[in-house]
Amino acid sequence: MTSKILHHDQMYIDGLLNNNSSIIESIYKKFAPKVTYYIKMNSGSADEAQDVIQEVIITIYNQAKTKGLELTCPFDAYFFLLCKRKWLNELKKSYNKEVTIKDENVSIDKDVEKLAIETEEQDEKQSLFDEMFQKLGEKCQEVLKLSFVTKTMEEVASKMNVTYAYVRKKKSICTGQLTELIQQSNRYQSIKY
């Protein structure tokens, strides 16, 4: 692993991972007003800002949890860029909105942009996984969900009233099926691996 120099704002990432309420609250207090202002200035409402912010925080959490996330730039810049790009995407998706972007002419730091793009790619994968999971059969969804929520596979077996061997086999096959669905999707082809 390359040793990067961590920004001291890494505490926000760690706070999210530890579900630390006071850190989450301080993210809202310090960084949400700027995002809300930006979205309101650009054809959005406070409710829409609330959704964008919440989704971006979940995206950051997911990346930190699955891949690890090492912040090499200020949290403020990274968070704001993610929210802004997400909002612009939303605007593009809904045609009936007249889009007029009011933007300060700021150049974006290369580090911030690189990190934000990585996070978006990870989020793209995450949403592909989610979408494909929904396409699995009901039984498979149930087995997989229970296998990860429940502590041991023995417990899963007794909850579902089947044998341990059956659950083990079923879990492997269902995970395999999920990988097949993912590979067959068009979106998978366009995501870099």
Partner: protein, 242 residues
């Protein structure tokens, strides 16, 4: 064929292979590009499922949702909580009570629990199997029928323990004078990481006020920080106790 492959992946990830199987498996990983690719995707899928369904993630999302809701309702409505018409009259009446209370207190009396027991309405947004009991508990609580709410909350908490539910359960206990039990609930919340840890401190103070342990009440009140929404009430009560 595919099935066997997936079972092998699973066994390898769970470290459940004999050493020969393992050597064979790792050889394939090194030498067969498509095998390796399939395995990597299988591994990543497992990781995705792990995060998606972990209790940590579920707790995190719940907590985030409630912080987000609080933040936006505070900033949008300038701190005006959702108060029903009925409780507006109640608020006016309570204000009068406080005025009269202050009048009497000046002549030496102590403030009482009933001057301060205005509770926020419960408004749960949970899903799943507990929803029926929780809705019933919420209704009973908002109707101030605490005797009825308590067993319902207990039933829900047995399989679905969440800080916001414990919080309203604690208030119900306090209202029916089960103060020792209420104290346990609020103490747990106070030590927890949820958004209810500050509110729990305020309610611990109220519990002490109700049993007329004024010194302990003051100690809790002093712990409430200035950015808490109960800060003003706490200061008011502190003044009256001094």
């Amino acid at each position: 064929m595919q099935e066997e492959l997936y079972i092998a992946f699973e066994n390898y990830l769970n470290n459940e292979m004999t050493s020969e199987e393992k050597v064979d498996f790792e050889n394939k990983l090194q030498n067969q590009e498509s095998f390796k690719k399939q395995f990597e995707l299988y591994k990543e899928t497992t990781q995705f499922l792990e995060v998606k369904f972990s209790n940590d993630t579920i707790d995190f999302k719940e907590n985030l949702k409630s912080i987000s809701k609080d933040h936006f309702s505070d900033t949008n409505k300038k701190k005006s909580k959702v108060i029903s018409l009925q409780s507006k009259w109640f608020a006016i009446a309570a204000t009068l009570v406080v005025f009269v209370g202050v009048w009497f207190m000046n002549s030496g009396g102590n403030p009482t629990y009933s001057d301060f027991n205005q509770h926020e309405n419960a408004n749960f947004t949970e899903r799943g199997s507990v929803i029926k009991d929780l809705k019933a508990a919420q209704e009973a609580f908002n109707d101030k029928n605490y005797e009825k709410a308590i067993p319902l909350f207990e039933k829900v908490l047995e399989e679905y323990k969440r800080p916001e539910i414990e919080f309203y359960y604690g208030i119900s206990l306090l209202e029916v004078n089960k103060t020792a039990q209420a104290e346990v609930v609020f103490n747990n919340l106070k030590d927890g990481k949820s958004v209810y840890n500050q509110k729990a401190t305020w309610y611990l103070a109220l519990t002490k006020l109700k049993v007329e342990d004024f010194e302990a009440c003051k100690t809790y009140l002093k712990e409430i920080s200035s950015d808490s929404e109960d800060f003003e009430k706490a200061q008011e009560l502190l003044n009256e106790l001094d």
